[in-house]
């Protein structure tokens, strides 16, 4: 069980690193926002996994709060991109 947990979390961490390479490389601003979106989604899954292996019910609440705030922050970024573009014209 423990080895499985280590394998899962290491694979998830590698995928987070892959997302971060796009965050550094991304040619335009929307690319970076996409990678931020993915980052928060994967992190929510990882948080729930950690809460299971620490056997801590409380972390589930924390991950729900994290999901709410991540959604709203990504939405703010997207609306900001949408609005600034139109204001220039």
């Amino acid at each position: 069980m423990n080895t499985l947990y280590w394998i899962w979390s290491i694979i998830l961490s590698i995928s987070i690193l892959m997302v971060l390479t796009r965050f550094i490389k991304g040619p335009a601003l929307p690319d970076r926002v996409i990678s931020l979106d993915m980052f928060t989604t994967i992190t929510t899954g990882l948080l729930v996994l950690i809460s299971f292996f620490l056997n801590n019910y409380i972390l589930l609440d924390v991950s729900l709060v994290y999901a709410v705030l991540a959604f709203i922050s990504v939405l703010i970024m997207a609306r900001y991109l949408e609005s600034t573009n139109e204001e220039e014209k």
Binding site: I34, I42, V48, L64
Partner: protein
């Protein structure tokens, strides 16, 4: 019960990694949105449900978190795609046709 949970979590982890791979490999923003955010949504969804199956007392709470992600992820990725299209970020050369009108003329 535990076996179902292990299978679901493994599926979730694999799809998260595939989504990250798609984010690196795809040529333009829209295709990146296609392959990446959706795959990670399924990845997070099945990871969370899998945890719920492995610990049945938490099942309701995990289903709640999973459905919240399922509701919110398409909204934010739709708005990202719309913003990118409005900003005039070019599509790849492979694109066949673009029928979505630029909205500026209407206003």
């Amino acid at each position: 019960m535990e076996i179902i949970g292990i299978i679901l979590i493994s599926i979730g982890v694999i799809f998260s990694t595939l989504g990250a791979l798609g984010l690196i490999r795809m040529p333009d923003i829209y295709n990146r949105l296609q392959t990446s955010t959706k795959a990670t949504t399924l990845g997070a969804f099945s990871t969370i449900i899998g945890v719920g199956f492995m610990h049945p007392a938490w099942l309701i709470k995990t289903i709640l978190i999973a459905f919240f992600i399922l509701m919110t992820a398409p909204i934010s990725s739709h708005n990202l795609g719309k913003a990118a299209h409005k900003a005039g970020i070019p599509l790849t050369d492979k694109t066949q046709i673009d029928e979505c009108p630029q909205k500026e003329e209407n206003k």
